[in-house]
């Protein structure tokens, strides 16, 4: 019994939390627009119907994953450039820091005005939020390759490209994957921010729409699905890492 408790401690704590939430809402008679009980959220979710949820979730995932893919496509070559050229590093890094220091939420409406109302502005906003940690971590990873191996590469007079494909990039794998994990959750945040600003579907849009008509339980249900999406995507990246690069999980010696 004790070992069973121990093994499922996290799950039990989660269920206990939900239960406490439910009892508090009922016992204190909290109005549903202030804090809906878990049961009320579940009911509101069921009422909306699986098809609608599917549509909204898919819309958000589309933006998040597209933005994520674009972020990766920009970040990795940029990181290679930064490690390779001191000049590029000195000229591009300040721009990256400026972009990172700009609250993307604040420029989101401007991006929508510039790019119109389609998918493009949503993807751009997501990319802007997700790509910074990718660039920084990948560049740090590539710079972390042991100098001896770079000397070995030079002493062999190997093509410069292979210094990257066979030494620096593999060395950066653990760094790149930690950044990929951070960036995927940021991509979901980015998609929601984009949907707040300009969208007619998606979970972000649904939260905005539901709260404006005081359907707070629906907003909570959307939030729960967002959390689920983030966790699922994070888990998928972690799984890919373990699956594709098991050697990078042990500390290099």
């Amino acid at each position: 019994m004790r070992s069973l408790l121990n093994r499922h401690a996290a799950l039990l704590a989660f269920v206990a939390g939900l239960l406490a939430w439910e009892l508090a809402c009922r016992g204190l008679a909290v109005p549903v627009y202030v804090l809906p009980a878990p049961s009320a959220i579940a009911m509101a979710a069921a009422e909306l119907g699986a098809a609608r949820w599917f549509e909204h979730t898919l819309a958000t995932l589309e933006v998040a994953l597209l933005g994520y893919a674009v972020a990766i496509a920009i970040a990795l070559p940029l990181a290679v450039g930064i490690t390779r050229s001191d000049l590029l590093s000195r000229t591009v890094m300040p721009w990256l820091v400026v972009i990172q220091s700009t609250p993307i939420v604040a420029i989101a409406p401007i991006i929508v005005v510039t790019l119109g109302a389609g998918l493009a502005p949503r993807v751009v906003i997501t990319t802007l939020i997700a790509f910074f940690p990718l660039v920084i971590s990948s560049a740090a990873g590539m710079a972390a390759a042991p100098p001896e191996l770079i000397e070995l590469s030079r002493s062999l007079r190997a093509p410069r490209l292979r210094e990257y494909t066979q030494i620096r990039l593999p060395y950066a794998v653990p760094y790149i994957f930690s950044a990929l994990k951070v960036a995927i959750t940021l991509a979901v945040v980015g998609a929601v921010v984009a949907e707040f600003v300009a969208a007619e579907r998606g979970l972000g849009y649904l939260i905005l729409f539901a709260t404006s008509s005081f359907k707070v339980p629906v907003a909570f249900a959307a939030l729960a699905i967002l959390v689920g999406c983030s966790l699922g995507l994070y888990g998928a990246i972690a799984w890919l890492h373990r699956r594709l690069f098991p050697w990078s999980l042990v500390a290099p010696t």
């Binding site: 042991p146 001896e148 191996l149 000397e151 070995l152 590469s153 030079r154 002493s155 062999l156 007079r157 190997a158 093509p159 292979r162 066979q166 030494i167 593999p170 794998v173 690069f245 050697w247 990078s248 042990v250 290099p252 010696t253």
Partner: protein, 264 residues
């Protein structure tokens, strides 16, 4: 030495070599000054001296990874302008690639240089793994090996293209004392099997004496050659060499030389 060998040009020759680096604040740092040194074919020479005496810089000059600020470095009578194929390099740390198995690490230089590994390279790598006693570990990852085993893999990697010259930058300094002694004998054994011209950088006087034909004592700031000491100990050398009176006397001599210049 036969008359012919005496007349042959030195395998490695440094003439009036100086190396000046810019420190981080831009001021010049003299790493090496007026270094003259010549190595005969299949000679084993150790460089010993305090930190900052330019031992590692000297190795990198011979490897063609650095260009001397003054003087010339020649290998087989030709001035070194870029890295050459005749040279193998073993570093202080094994620096193996964690994503490749042992065999993959030994053949890595070929894969890196030519983009592929042919059957001959693999056969040679397998043979080298036998030489260093790791034939049963070909499919293991570096993380599964001890530090001494990793360094053996690194040495096998440096020997893959059968270089005439082997440059070793404190290859055993990261190992514990017991493994270190074991590796010294291991290196002597390999060197007997496949004679090469070796430049071996070390901080250990006994290690230098046990391995070398000559020991080059260097001093720091600026890095210079203080003295070149012949080691007339008979080969093949063994555990017994360590208690040879000549060994003890030379060790004391060198210790006095190093310490008299760098008291305390």
């Amino acid at each position: 030495m036969t008359a012919a060998a005496a007349l042959a040009p030195p395998v490695i020759e440094l003439a009036g070599v100086g190396q000046v680096f810019a420190a981080s604040d831009g001021s010049p740092v003299v790493a090496l000054q007026g270094v003259d040194l010549a190595l005969r074919r299949h000679e084993f020479v150790s460089l010993i001296g305090p930190s900052g005496c330019g031992k590692s810089t000297l190795l990198r000059l011979v490897a063609g990874l650095l260009k001397p600020t003054s003087g010339t470095v020649s290998v087989f009578g030709v001035p070194v302008t870029e890295p050459r194929d005749e040279i193998g390099f073993a570093f202080q740390k094994p620096t193996l690639l964690p994503w490749l198995d042992v065999l993959g690490n030994v053949t890595f230089p070929m894969k890196h240089k030519h983009g592929r590994v042919d059957a001959r390279d693999t056969a040679r790598a397998t043979e080298l793994l036998h030489t260093v006693g790791l034939q049963d570990f070909a499919r293991k990852r570096p993380a599964e090996l001890s530090g001494g085993m990793q360094q053996r893999v690194a040495i096998a990697r440096a020997l893959l293209h059968d270089p005439d010259i082997l440059l070793m930058d404190e290859p055993f300094s990261a190992l514990d004392a017991l493994t270190r002694d074991e590796m010294s004998f291991e290196l002597l054994r390999i060197w007997n099997l496949r004679p090469k011209t070796v430049v071996f950088v070390t901080h250990s006087i006994p290690e230098a004496l046990l391995l070398s034909d000559r020991v080059v004592v260097m001093s720091a700031r600026p890095g210079r050659v203080d003295e070149i000491i012949d080691v007339p100990l008979p080969r093949p050398r063994s555990m017994a060499t360590l208690s040879d009176p000549v060994f003890t006397r030379l060790a004391n001599d060198i210790r006095l030389k190093v310490f008299s210049r760098h008291p305390g």
